[in-house]
């Protein structure tokens, strides 16, 4: 997966970021520790110096005052000190003349600070000095009642320790970072494994293979939720694919029978020579059937497009009353022929936001359906009433009615009610009406009593209400 040209994987990115963050915090920590320890070491050195100086001051005060005795004392002291400390001791009289110098101070005089000489301060002065051009020393000078004491220790040993510590840190840091990088990489791989599974599953999914599901761990974490969400999406896709497949199958089935009839008519006609008038007669009959087929295909297209929702560029404000009048105009002669009375009660003057063509089709389908299933002498009534922000348009007929068990199925595609299979129609009128109502954010309800009649109620939102999110 990780080719040289491929972008950095999330796994690598996470490991690198993790390591970088750690590098910063460890560096700060190491610097702090180093500074602290460095200071502590210097304080230790001062303490050693102060203790030595105190003893000397005491000796100077208690001693006999002879230079020999003092020299002997200082020599003993220097000899007994740890060799690594490189202790040096010098004693001056109050005027600043050297009385004795031993250890590291022997032969390498270090000036006594002026304030100490003058007695200007009581606290010891501590300073750094180079002795014989070698390592640096920490020097302490203090004034006793009868002389001046100077003590020096090498800083070498303390510096050595500090340097050692620094080296340990410098060497340990890359190792630590390497370890972190590796751990981070492994951790990231562990937590990203579900994503790899999702990717693999998604690759396998095709239109024909929507039964596949991404395995969920049940942990409920973010990736588990993602997997569940994707599974839901796949399920919805599967459902709509299934509907499309069903529709294609139904449509093909619906078209097959009339096409077979056309074919056999043509075959029979071609069996022998016919007169021009016979040909004309057959062709006219065929044309009529083809026109009916064309209407059915139109209806299928309308259904397919209404399921996809309203084209926003065709949305307009449609006045309800003229719309209903126009539809009634169209069906008036049809109702006449069926000897069905068609009438409309007064309707509120409202507008619906939607596709005018579709709204025409919606009411045309309901009206046509009502007229078709109403026996001669019956009546079809259109009423409309406001209910809150919605308008209810009722198409009420005194027709054959629909038994409860069939009421949901009348909205199924290519369904024709019970024994009335002989009633012509595409079997798509009501499904189209329902899809159009849905596309406008509305719905269709059906109430029906067999033998008494049916009422289809179209509920539509008023004004600029868009359809709900699909």
């Amino acid at each position: 997966m990780a080719s040289a040209r491929a972008p950095l994987s999330i796994q690598t990115k996470w490991a690198v970021r993790y390591t970088a963050a750690l590098l910063v915090s460890i560096s700060i920590f190491a610097f702090y520790v180093y500074a602290r320890i460095d200071r502590n070491l210097e304080q230790d050195a001062r303490l050693v110096l102060e203790l030595q100086a105190q003893e000397l001051v005491q000796e100077l005060a208690d001693g006999t005052g002879s230079t020999e005795g003092l020299t002997e004392y200082v020599e003993r002291h220097v000899a007994s000190a740890e060799p690594g400390v490189m202790l040096g001791i010098a004693v001056y009289d109050l005027a600043g003349n050297l009385l004795v110098a031993r250890g590291s101070l022997q032969g390498h005089g270090v000036d006594v600070p002026r304030e100490v000489l003058r007695g200007g301060r009581n606290t010891p002065a501590v300073y750094k000095a180079e002795l014989g051009g070698r390592a640096s020393y920490l020097v302490l000078a203090t004034r006793a009642p009868n002389g001046i004491v100077q003590v020096a220790v090498s800083q070498h040993r303390f510096e050595e320790r500090a340097r050692h510590l620094a080296w340990v840190m410098v060497l340990a840091l890359p190792l630590l970072l390497l370890l972190t990088l590796g751990t981070g990489w492994l951790l990231a791989r562990g937590s990203l494994r579900p994503i790899a599974q999702i990717t693999a599953t998604a690759r396998r999914i095709t239109g024909a293979n929507l039964d596949e599901r991404i395995p969920t761990t049940g942990s409920g974490d973010e990736l588990d939720q993602l997997a569940a969400t994707l599974n839901d999406m796949i399920a919805r896709l599967r459902e709509s694919m299934e509907r499309m497949r069903q529709f294609s199958a139904d449509a093909a089935h619906e078209l097959r029978t009339p096409l077979a009839a056309l074919r056999s008519q043509i075959e029979v006609t071609l069996e022998k020579e016919r007169t021009p008038s016979e040909y004309r007669g057959v062709l006219s009959g065929l044309l009529e059937e083809v026109e009916t087929l064309g209407d059915a295909v139109h209806a299928m297209l309308r259904l397919a497009s209404s399921e996809a929702g309203i084209d926003p560029t065709r949305r307009a404000s449609v006045a309800l009353v003229p719309l209903l009048d126009e539809v009634m105009d169209f069906f008036e002669p049809v109702a006449d022929e069926h000897e069905v009375e068609l009438r409309r009660t007064s309707c509120p003057e409202v507008s619906i936001s939607g596709d005018p063509t579709w709204l025409h089709q919606l009411f045309a389908n309901l009206l046509h359906n009502a007229i078709k299933y109403t026996p001669a002498g019956g009546r079809v009534t259109i009423e409309a009433a406001l209910h809150g922000g919605r308008i209810a348009v009722r198409v009420r007929d005194t027709g054959v009615g629909i038994p409860k068990s069939e009421q949901e199925r009348v909205f199924a595609r290519f369904h024709r009610t019970g024994a009335r299979q002989e009633v012509p129609g595409s079997g798509l009128g009501l499904p189209i009406a329902r899809e159009i109502a849905r596309a406008h954010g509305g719905s269709i309800e059906l109430e029906s009593t067999p033998g008494v009649g049916s009422t289809f109620t179209v509920w539509l939102p008023l004004g600029d209400h868009g359809p709900p999110a699909p």
Partner: protein, 102 residues
């Protein structure tokens, strides 16, 4: 409802607005055969294209008003093709194809 009146042989005939539009369309295409689909689209507009098979009903209504009590017959069915409005009372077989509206 608003009515439109036309006259034939001195007699007034009341038409509905749609019947009037339909007659107007046929007159504009007089002598040319128009198909049901063309009539649906031109006279009723969109939203009714799945109902071209109901055009015959409208034609029968119009024919009853403008032709039933008059001679010669003006509105002719070209079987399986559509309709034509013209004065010739010629046999259907002589007509050819579907006329194109101007």
């Amino acid at each position: 409802m608003q009515r439109h009146t036309v006259h034939r042989a001195g007699k007034a005939i009341e038409l509905t607005p749609k019947e009037f539009t339909l007659l107007e369309y046929l007159l504009r295409n007089a002598g040319h055969v128009v198909s049901r689909t063309m009539i649906t689209e031109k006279v009723w507009g969109y939203g009714f294209e799945t109902y071209s098979n109901l055009i015959d009903v409208h034609m029968n209504h119009l024919r009853r008003k403008i032709d039933r009590d008059f001679e010669p017959k003006l509105l002719h069915t070209v079987k399986g093709v559509g309709y034509v409005l013209d004065q010739r009372n010629a046999p259907r077989e002589e007509r050819e194809g579907i006329g194109r509206p101007a």
